[in-house]
Symmetry: C2
Subunit: 254 residues, 2 copies
Amino acid sequence: MEYTVQKLANLAGVSARTLRYYDEIDILKPTRINSSGYRIYGQSEVDKLQQILFYRELGVSLDSIKEIVTASSFDGAAALREHREKLLAKRKQLDLLLANVDKTIALTEGRTNMTDKEKFTGFKQKMIDDNEKKYGEEIRQKYSNETIDQSNAKVMNMTEEDYEAVTNIEKQVLETLAQAFENGDPAGELGQKAAELHKKWLMYYWSEYSKEAHAGLAQMYVDDERFKAYYDEKQPGGAEFLRDAIHIYTGMKG
Amino acid sequence: MEYTVQKLANLAGVSARTLRYYDEIDILKPTRINSSGYRIYGQSEVDKLQQILFYRELGVSLDSIKEIVTASSFDGAAALREHREKLLAKRKQLDLLLANVDKTIALTEGRTNMTDKEKFTGFKQKMIDDNEKKYGEEIRQKYSNETIDQSNAKVMNMTEEDYEAVTNIEKQVLETLAQAFENGDPAGELGQKAAELHKKWLMYYWSEYSKEAHAGLAQMYVDDERFKAYYDEKQPGGAEFLRDAIHIYTGMKG
DNA sequence: GATTGACTTTGACGTTGCGTAAAGGTGTAT
DNA sequence: ATACACCTTTACGCAACGTCAAAGTCAATC
């Protein structure tokens, strides 16, 4: 049985454009071109198309499908396992989004506009997510996965009062840091107060405290551009100063 | 505090390009342009960007975000509820994909290439999925959700022998249909045999049988281009013929 | 004051998987 | 002869930017 584009398209439930595109990207070529320039497909193309569409249904990219269907020696199972991991990650991400959306709906219901506090909340969440994306691997290597997940979970479960409190403490950290910076001594009273406030702030995110982790985080504030920018915003060098203060406070060097 | 693109970009953790793009699509304009043509952002822009990024994190499209942040009267909660539904649907789809991938991995493991039977399986699955996408709403209105879900579940749980059997019966349906078509009478012996075989085939997909549903499905074979193409492939008019035969077999008119 | 390096601008193409004309040729039934 | 349904290639459009490229600006350094 031979098919023109439309015939095959109807049979397979795709558009003729799709078949032309598959021809274009060398993923499925017709058996031959007839005298009028028409694409003619045969049985083996039908079979191949079935394969292609099957993988497509699984969400595999056409690029990957190309590898799978062209290289017969290609390890399809391995490709699928890899793809499976991606799907799992995607679903996890979706679950996070859903939790976030649910919470936001709960927060906004009854109030038409968001308060500053809520805006800040979203920002914090974003920072965590961004951080996870950019430095997820590094951080998850330094700390354990549980630590990170627990931190995220703790943020998710914060009450409104918690948010208020954590916002307040964060402000205090920055103010104290600014004062201490003028003073110039990380080991001084103000510097150590800033480190202590920072620990207090931290405990809204972490479920358990260790001096090592605290010192490590402080070092990250300097190494990680994002955090550095945040603490350096008022005074350049603020991140380094805070790190030094925390290292003295914890008695650690990172 | 005033920011240039990069400054604001660093603060917010996005790229400068993103900010220029947001300017371009009128979603976030700078406060002013300085004498050198530089974009200068102020505090209110920072706040607005936070809002934008927050919604973006939730997976809302920039188009929708635009509506949310520009029209203050816009019902953000309703938009989020709608978005939530989309996320749920997406996750459901993901779960289906995952189940499918898992099964495929299990099937292919140990065998390097897929057998024809398996190819067919994938194709059937694809047809079901496609059908669900294109006619999901219609069909789910005609039949109950449970009917559809059970059908899909039944397909998922078929054994290899089932596949063989159902493939065989499908072939028989088509052959008998072809013979009956030559004969010309849907009410004749062959036409009624085709209808009976079709019922037998159907029972591999449905968990319970009703004449009404069978007759309705037969009508759908004519109304639905995809199915029509399938049964019309050998003989144009095949879908209508089968419908008539089934309507006589069930004693229904659809 | 000239150079360097880090910033800024606009413009424009690339990404993914096709949808959707547009402009023209082909096949067949009436 | 004409209509109509098919086929072809070419090419823009979509979302949300990434990534050069070419050219101007700013602050610091030689």
